[in-house]
Symmetry: C2
Subunit: 329 residues, 2 copies
Amino acid sequence: MAHGGGGRLMHDLLANLFLPAFHNDALAVGHDSSVLATGGARVAFTTDSYVVKPLFFPGGDIGSLAVHGTVNDLAMSGARPRWLSAGFILEEGLPMETLWRIVHSMQAAARHCGVEIVTGDTKVVDRGRGDGLFINTAGLGLVEHALDIRPAAIRPGDRILVSGDLARHGMAIMTVREGLLFDSAITSDSAPVHEAVQALLDAGVEVHCLRDLTRGGLAGALNELSAAARVRIAVDERAIPVREDVHAACEILGLDPLHVACEGRFIAFVAAPEADKALAALRTSAAAPQPALIGEVTATDSPIVVLRSRLGANRILDMPSGEQLPRIC
Amino acid sequence: MAHGGGGRLMHDLLANLFLPAFHNDALAVGHDSSVLATGGARVAFTTDSYVVKPLFFPGGDIGSLAVHGTVNDLAMSGARPRWLSAGFILEEGLPMETLWRIVHSMQAAARHCGVEIVTGDTKVVDRGRGDGLFINTAGLGLVEHALDIRPAAIRPGDRILVSGDLARHGMAIMTVREGLLFDSAITSDSAPVHEAVQALLDAGVEVHCLRDLTRGGLAGALNELSAAARVRIAVDERAIPVREDVHAACEILGLDPLHVACEGRFIAFVAAPEADKALAALRTSAAAPQPALIGEVTATDSPIVVLRSRLGANRILDMPSGEQLPRIC
């Protein structure tokens, strides 16, 4: 199980198996989606499979999640999301009414995101060989800006912004699974972020890199990007928005909120003089509910992520190892 | 299980659930892939999930199948296949060596087809909640011809050609599963067909529609197309290539070879005066191992598929109902 959690084991699986086997220029960029040249246009292409458990959770379900997750991966290239595919793997015995609810949730999410589900496929596996249903979505988006948004574009001096409070998706799933009851349920942050990205682009911000904070959370994303760009990243714990109830739930379960997945949050690396403009642009978008400047990039010989804690001490912020939160997406 | 087999129940699931929910112009075309306009270029987009059992079978494995199947769906739009995504759902406990073999088989198949796997994703599910591994591939191809290849373009008078002998993929899987031993194993026909399609296009053949003969086999494809184009289709059993050993295996298992899936065969509907040219073009391509003219289209008020049998009698060739062959792809 530890291989699927977005931590170091998954990182090793990618580095040692998939990337060498499938080696090509697009994969080598190490981005959430690949940008391809198709006769004049630049098209972003991405895929994700969704195996979240339970299928319905506070704030969403596997259907809306499968739309938001892929829309967000496209947005991380600064692409305008346009078309999705949908592949269903159904376990024999899945109630038709469950499938019906999920398909309609997907369609509502797609309409809300302004994308169309244009191709699909359904397979059925025997009872006990699946788990209700799994969904794969692949996505296509059009890259209409002239920027080169990718990990290698991160530069010393860049400022790092986050679009909203962290860790709600992972904790919404975990509290349901663990049967934890709070005064009010923690709801998932599952949502599309492409309009917040568009607000940055429309404002003319010099965006260097974008990354959504899914498996591995903020810590996973920062460690991957620090390694990819070969830079030192420092973030300030006091500036990172985490709700009090989410903090409390994390403490009960022994989790670090910086390791817990979101499904509607991203970080942006922008040129230093652009930080205020970027923050102002994000504040205009409902898709960035609590934007904050959380850190900066410096040059280094040995990539590292450092967290300046609430008490003022610096500590290394490691990539999560193994599987903290299986099947959260 | 009956919903996944490419027969009438799957057809009903599509017609009653997915198509109305996701309704849009691209889906309404009813094709293996959707053709999208992206700034001057036409891009074909398709997806399939693969749940074949066993993972390795005579003539292929789930990895090469996942490449060929999606390459072939793109080719059915007359597109030149270019890029694939790969989404893996691994069951906890899958031996790494198995994954390694499958990933390398995918890469070898991709190289052979001239496509690149440019984006991917891996999820892990707990033991007993999956079945070794499932793979989803989505594909992108470039449509470089000016034809409008789709079911609605089929016309009375069109001739129907098939690219090779039928039913080997399904029977390769079934004989392994049922433990049937013949003098020599039936090997799958899993293979890319895009070069055979390109041969038709290069020869300037007026192609109206293409369809690969996967789930539901020839009978499923002809019934879907007869309904979509509202035409009568007549095919001649004597002209349809089926190997003797495949016939024998079908008889033992009580299957009709015209209902059994291929993974490297397609039919082409071409304007009547083009049939000889089309046959000659297919004969130049190794991707069409046994091309044959098998039938023709006539006008009708009530769509139907008619088989002229070896004995000269006409009978209705029905769509397979329910699930003959679960998990063959």
